[in-house]
């Protein structure tokens, strides 16, 4: 019997593959801008949103979206206040988000299976409404990136030169951080808060090892993410493992294999 005969698996795969494409695409810019911890910070903030939603009776997925978007704006604001210490913004939002989440969880003592699914991801948890939100928001994010990718390239490569080329650097950067927040909140449903940033960082890291152009970097990053998510979700179903952890372990395995393989080829030549 195929695993796709289960409705929840179909939903998990659709949601998982869409978030794979999103995370891998945005991840290329995030890694190259040396902001690998942005995903982690936003994920911790979205956990506060999840806890807040559970506490106040909202659907946690939506409150996670709001919390991540708010955190994205806060990161941009703090980054401007400490321009030379970008990581200050990430640390503040990451620890603040986590602190808020823990306090809210302790207030209602809501540490249940539902919260667990947001922490580590769950195959069963993806509802039809979740799939619709992920697909709709996913198309919006990809269209935004398609529209802005040249400007994002210029900013990522040389921010000062981009500013002098007349690119509205602050506006484009803020918008990109908001898109990242949206992606994180979407990905949390499938891979979980604790592992979402790995999906944004590992596929681009694999790609950076082998790509021979910026265009190819995207292609390889997306392929690695798609393969990791598909095989991870499949394995998590067959062996009854946490999907987020399985996906990330496969992606990390690919990274190690590529690094070892590349080293061996260099030695050979």
């Amino acid at each position: 019997m195929s695993i796709f005969s289960f409705d929840f698996m179909q939903r998990a795969f659709i949601a998982g593959l869409i978030t794979a494409v999103l995370a891998a695409t945005l991840g290329v810019f995030i890694v190259l801008r040396r902001l690998s911890l942005v995903g982690d910070s936003l994920a911790h903030a979205s956990l506060a949103g999840v806890a807040g939603g559970m506490l106040l009776g909202f659907y946690p997925f939506y409150s996670a979206l709001l919390a991540a978007a708010g955190a994205a704006l806060l990161i941009e604001f703090i980054r401007r206040a400490f321009p030379r210490y970008a990581e200050v913004a990430l640390a503040v939002v990451m620890s603040g988000g986590m602190a808020l989440a823990v306090v809210m969880i302790s207030l209602k003592k809501v540490f249940n299976a539902d919260l667990f699914s947001y922490l580590f991801g769950s195959l069963m948890a993806v509802s039809p409404a979740d799939v619709a939100v992920i697909a709709g928001a996913g198309i919006f994010i990809l269209m935004s990136i398609a529209f802005l990718h040249r400007e994002l390239f210029a900013i990522t490569f040389d921010e000062e030169a981009a500013r002098l080329a007349g690119i509205p650097v602050t506006a484009v950067s803020t918008y990109f951080t908001l898109l990242t927040a949206l992606t994180v909140a979407l990905a949390v449903r499938v891979v979980g808060t604790l592992l979402v940033s790995a999906l944004m960082v590992i596929p681009p890291a694999v790609s950076l090892q082998v790509a021979r152009s910026f265009k190819a970097t995207f292609g390889i990053s997306i392929l690695v993410a798609l393969f990791s998510v598909a095989s991870g979700l499949y394995a998590s179903f067959i062996f009854d493992l946490a999907p987020g952890g399985t996906v990330v372990l496969i992606a990390a395995g690919i990274l190690v294999a590529v690094m070892v393989g590349k080293g061996a080829i260099k030695k050979w030549i």
């Binding site: 190259l32 529209f147 802005l148 040249r150 400007e151 390239f153 210029a154 490569f157 040389d158 000062e160 030169a161 981009a162 500013r163 002098l164 080329a165 007349g166 690119i167 509205p168 790609s207 950076l208 790509a211 021979r212 152009s213 910026f214 265009k215 190819a216 970097t217």
Partner: protein
């Protein structure tokens, strides 16, 4: 072709004062760069040469005074196609950045909200810039694989892709060997002479500045002293006044 508010004038600074944390580094600076000028800004490390260049292109805002770029107040200047800029940090790019030379050069073509709709840099525009910088054969190479001298030419090509009327360069030859440096200055002189491009360059290469530039600006003690006619200036005297010693940051060609 873009319309100049004040034809023939590239940059004008009027009584410009700039301070970092209240400590002034430039005071009452007045200077003008005209179309076809080749101005070299020289001075010791920390003399605020780079600061001056950044003020000219609007990357830094002066505490007081007026900055005009192509006749426009810098705050309302929008025609970024008119200027090409190479920053001091350009050479420090991440060596593993996965971009080809052609992709980097094309990135100079996008800019402004107009750029969002102008879209793709046409292949021939990129090729023309590569050819002008003499690096057409490098188009498919990764930027991280190039030597320092080759990279600087890539950044020059990126600055040239919009066919600017003026180039602003901040110590573009730092860390590259003498032959590549000479080659780079020759290219700048060619662009200035044959294409009428105004060039403003911050440099420590006093020898090259005196060989290639038409005007010299000495940045010293928070002031800028412009020598309009380079032939009337004694190179060794300038070097001595600025506190350079032969062999230290001081290159003759």
């Amino acid at each position: 072709m873009a319309c100049y508010r004040n034809e023939g004038e590239v940059v004008r600074l009027v009584n410009v004062t700039f301070a970092y944390n209240e400590a002034p580094v430039l005071e009452d600076v007045n200077l003008a760069v005209k179309a076809g000028d080749f101005l070299a800004l020289i001075g010791r490390n920390g003399a605020a040469k780079s600061t001056l260049l950044k003020i000219m292109v609007g990357l830094l805002r002066p505490k007081s005074g007026e900055v005009r770029l192509f006749g426009w107040d810098i705050r309302s200047f929008r025609d970024w196609d008119l200027i090409g800029y190479i920053s001091q940090n350009a050479g420090d790019i991440n060596a593993s950045f996965p971009a080809t030379v052609a992709e980097v050069v094309a990135s100079g073509y996008y800019g402004g909200w107009r750029g969002l709709f102008a879209r793709r840099a046409r292949k021939e525009i990129v090729e023309e810039a590569l050819e002008l910088a003499g690096i057409k054969d490098l188009a498919g190479r990764l930027i991280g694989e190039l030597s320092g001298g080759q990279r600087q030419k890539v950044f020059l090509a990126r600055a040239l892709v919009k066919k600017p009327a003026a180039l602003f360069l901040d110590e573009p030859t730092t860390g590259i060997d003498a032959v590549a440096r000479e080659d780079f200055y020759r290219l700048l002189a060619h662009l200035n002479r044959e294409r009428g491009m105004a060039v403003v360059i911050v440099t420590h290469d006093i020898g090259a500045a005196f060989t290639r530039a038409k005007k010299i600006g000495c940045v010293r003690d928070r002031h800028v002293y412009i020598h309009e006619n380079i032939n009337e200036v004694d190179q060794d005297h300038i070097a001595e006044v600025l506190g350079y010693r032969l062999g230290e940051n001081y290159v003759y060609f």
